[in-house]
């Protein structure tokens, strides 16, 4: 029953999306508003249908409808209520459904917000419905979420226990809102090419959309790191895994676009570059899905096993050919009106920032597909791991932090020596002093000194700029707090951007600290024995067992003391799920601003007499999550409507 309704709704949705896409395009071309209007209704209908499908699938999960194969695979009778909802997007079919729903949601929002806009809008609608049509097609042929399972099993297989985590509600949702959000600027860019209105209109209109997409993508990456850190139990938050890389690439190019768009707005340069970046970013979101969902990363030969890879590859080819074809067609109109005056200018700082971001994206791309290239060309599988990504990206990221300090303060067109001195002498001195102070305190890693010195330099530029502006306000008669408030609200774009930069800098401190100073050890302890690590004493006090509806847990009790304060008890565990052949680690950690103590229970004796424990002291990791919060505040500030211009 549910199967039939779901299948039917998706099929109708596909047809309507295709119709709407064509109708809107034809309507724009022939000047028939009625057609465009019908496309709007199609968009509304598609959104309603996909929403219905999402609710229907959730209903199937809540009622344990094992006649739907996907439900039977992702849940069983003991899966708690809460995780039956998140299980909806726990695997391929459901995540495509969620993805499609978001595309149709964005389409509807574009209709609501921009339908008065006459020249670009119909084509935007056409492109967005085209994208939705593709995803609906994927759900009708290679990845049907409502596929029937006969005979209906009495119980399902159950959710992957690693996904039983609150991070799994927010992580995919944020990540997909980011991925799909880039379809809006992409659609506007294509509309600009089709109509030939490649001026600044599309950039201005999509500014807010781009920030929203970028923000959700950032949030998705951070929550992914958080999930990896507190669930996977290896002590880290980022592993340059292909799946992570897939999400990282569009983030890098999207970040580049956010910045280069400002140059076009201000100086009418980089038109071609901006359109290319948007096309690239959108294509990378599709490529990322292709990469992670087709199985191609495992092997070139695995690619042919499922048809979903073929669909995505074909779609990617269509997107790239159409977009770059249009770009070539409009080549003449894409010439820059302004030009670069000097290497010491805001334009060139932004341009350099773009070059480094795209270089980083290329590095990640290259490293991720390297095994495929080598297998296809030389027949041997060679992969490059985390050392490769770190080695190439760290210099790029450090340069970017430096440019983050330079870009917003350096003068447009040509910076005079006076300008440079006025804006950068102080921050440079502060940065150098900070590095020197850290050296005195005992920091010896050159990389950490460089990274923290640059971070302090860039923070100082932000503080300098803000305090200067606040003082100007106060000289005009405003008091301290009102001065800051008006500054933030009236120049929300600028200071939202600065707050985002501050968030990134805090994340950078966390990454630097955890890479440079984290330590770990592993030991097998008998009852009462202790292991020492970085001033902590971790004593093993025995094992206990617990059982609940979904799994059994073996818990190690460890008493932790660090010389001062009362000892605390930590309980890392191992969880045994009946549907899984192996246990899952239950990490226990104490978070702190300076460091986290992170315990993982390894092997243990069945009689509870001894246990192996892995202890990590991870330095400054909390800064990464705090940086994420600051970044969130900045993003909110940057997208609130400008009271002066709105």
């Amino acid at each position: 029953m549910i199967s039939d309704i779901g299948h039917g709704a998706l099929a109708v949705g596909t047809v309507l999306a295709v119709y709407g896409s064509i109708a809107s395009g034809v309507g724009a071309r022939t000047g028939r508003p009625a057609l465009i209007e019908s496309a709007q209704y199609a968009a509304l209908a598609v959104f309603t249908l996909v929403t219905g499908c999402l609710l229907l699938l959730s209903y199937a999960f809540l009622t344990f409808d094992f006649s739907v194969r996907y439900v039977a695979q992702q849940t069983n009778l003991s899966t708690p209520f809460y995780y039956r909802i998140t299980a909806v997007w726990g695997a391929l079919e459901g995540s495509i459904l969620l993805w499609t729903w978001m595309v149709t949601l964005y389409t509807l929002l574009v209709v609501l917000r921009h339908r008065a806009q006459r020249d670009l809008y119909p084509w935007v609608l056409s492109v967005m419905l085209g994208i939705a049509a593709f995803f609906l097609l994927v759900m009708t042929i290679p990845a049907p979420p409502f596929e029937r399972l006969t005979p209906v099993p009495l119980d399902g297989r159950g959710l992957n226990p690693l996904l039983e985590d609150t991070g799994m509600i927010t992580h995919p949702v944020a990540l997909y809102l980011g991925f799909t959000g880039f379809s809006v600027p992409f659609a506007f860019a294509l509309a600009a090419l089709i109509t030939g209105r490649v001026g600044d209109a599309w950039i201005t209109i999509t500014r807010r959309w781009t920030i929203i997409a970028w923000y959700f993508l950032s949030l998705g990456l951070l929550i992914g790191g958080w999930w990896s850190y507190h669930v996977l139990g290896w002590g880290g938050y980022w592993a340059w895994d292909p799946v992570e890389n897939a999400a990282c690439m569009p983030w890098l190019t999207g970040t580049a676009f956010l910045h280069s768009a400002m140059i076009q707005e201000r100086r009418r340069m980089l038109k071609l570059w901006n359109i290319s970046l948007v096309i690239l970013t959108f294509s990378l979101t599709i490529f990322g899905t292709f990469l992670t969902r087709s199985g191609i990363i495992a092997s070139v030969h695995a690619f042919t096993q499922g048809s979903i890879g073929v669909f995505f590859l074909a779609f990617l080819a269509i997107v790239l050919l159409t977009a770059f074809g249009l770009l070539a067609w409009r080549w003449d109109r894409l010439r820059a009106e302004g030009e670069l005056d000097s290497a010491l200018s805001r334009e060139s700082a932004f341009l350099l920032n773009n070059v480094f971001l795209v270089a980083a994206a290329f590095t990640v791309f290259f490293g991720t597909v390297f095994p495929l290239l080598s297998e296809a060309m030389r027949g041997v599988k060679v992969s490059v791991g985390a050392p490769f990504f770190n080695q190439v990206n760290v210099p790029l990221f450090l340069s970017l932090i430096f440019l983050m300090g330079v870009g917003p303060l350096i003068a447009w067109r040509r910076a005079s020596v006076e300008n440079l001195k006025r804006n950068f002498l102080g921050p440079v001195l502060v940065g150098v002093a900070a590095a020197a102070a850290l050296h005195v305190v005992g920091v010896r890693s050159a990389l950490a000194l460089l990274s923290l010195g640059l971070t302090v330099f860039t923070t100082a530029t932000i503080v300098l700029d803000f305090s200067r502006a606040a003082r100007a306000r106060m000289r005009a008669g405003s008091r301290f707090l009102p001065a800051i408030a008006t500054l933030l609200l009236h120049h929300n774009r600028r200071y939202g951007g600065f707050a985002i930069h501050l968030g990134i800098l805090i994340v950078a401190v966390g990454v630097t600290g955890s890479q440079a100073w984290s330590v770990q050890t592993e030991a097998t302890l008998r009852h009462g024995e202790a292991v020492h690590l970085a001033g902590y004493q971790v004593r093993f006090d025995g094992l206990s067992a617990e059982e609940d509806s979904t799994h059994a847990t073996v818990i190690g009790t460890f008493t932790v003391s660090n010389g001062h304060g009362t000892p605390t008890v930590m309980r890392p565990s191992k969880k045994f799920y009946p549907q899984e052949s192996s246990p899952i680690a239950g990490v226990d950690y104490r978070m702190g601003l300076r460091e986290d103590l992170y315990l993982v229970l390894g092997d243990f004796a069945r009689d509870g007499s001894q246990a192996t424990v892995k202890a990590h002291v991870n330095r400054l990791v909390s800064w990464i999550w705090i940086g994420g919060l600051v970044l969130t505040l900045g993003a909110i500030l940057a997208i609130v409507p400008d009271p002066q211009r709105a």
């Binding site: 592993a239 041997v380 490059v384 050392p387 490769f388 080695q391 592993e522 246990p583």
Partner: protein
């Protein structure tokens, strides 16, 4: 030098630097993915390998006190003794697949610095001990990356 030439020169320098960094990165961190029989055929000591196979039943020796783990990986045609220091990961077990990263030591065993066995939503234990089962398994393990 006119502006365009400067522009191209600058871009060229950056591109060359990036190309060099990528080249150096690849040569220094390339890891060769092989099976036990391939390693047996041409072992090169010191080269970084990712070795994938099935943990031979009965071969696992784990000494909790010294944290020494020893086992044999096989692909049905050849087998390689592996040594590792550290607790076996959760997914590790006899008769199951594992991918280990490390190098071939002159003493005649593989020294693993990392044992990879990660969970996936479609992980299935292989049936039988030869043929396609191995390939699929290794593929699953490769695809799912690593837990460390």
């Amino acid at each position: 030098m006119n502006r365009n030439a400067k522009f191209i020169a600058g871009g060229g320098v950056i591109a060359a630097a990036l190309a060099y960094m990528i080249y150096a990165g690849v040569t220094q961190s390339a890891v060769y993915f092989i099976t036990p029989s391939e390693l047996r055929a041409a072992p090169v000591s010191g080269k970084a390998y990712r070795l994938g196979g099935i943990v031979v039943p009965g071969s696992v020796q784990w000494n909790p006190a010294s944290l020494e783990l020893a086992f044999t990986l096989s692909d049905g045609r050849g087998s390689v003794p592996v040594r590792h220091r550290g607790t076996p990961p959760d997914l590790f077990g006899e008769g199951r697949g594992a991918v280990v990263e490390g190098n071939w030591s002159r003493e005649g065993h593989f020294t693993a610095s990392l044992i990879m066995a990660k969970h996936s939503e479609d992980y299935k234990a292989p049936r039988g001990t030869s043929g396609a089962g191995y390939q699929d398994l290794i593929r699953t393990l490769e695809k799912d990356g690593s837990s460390r």
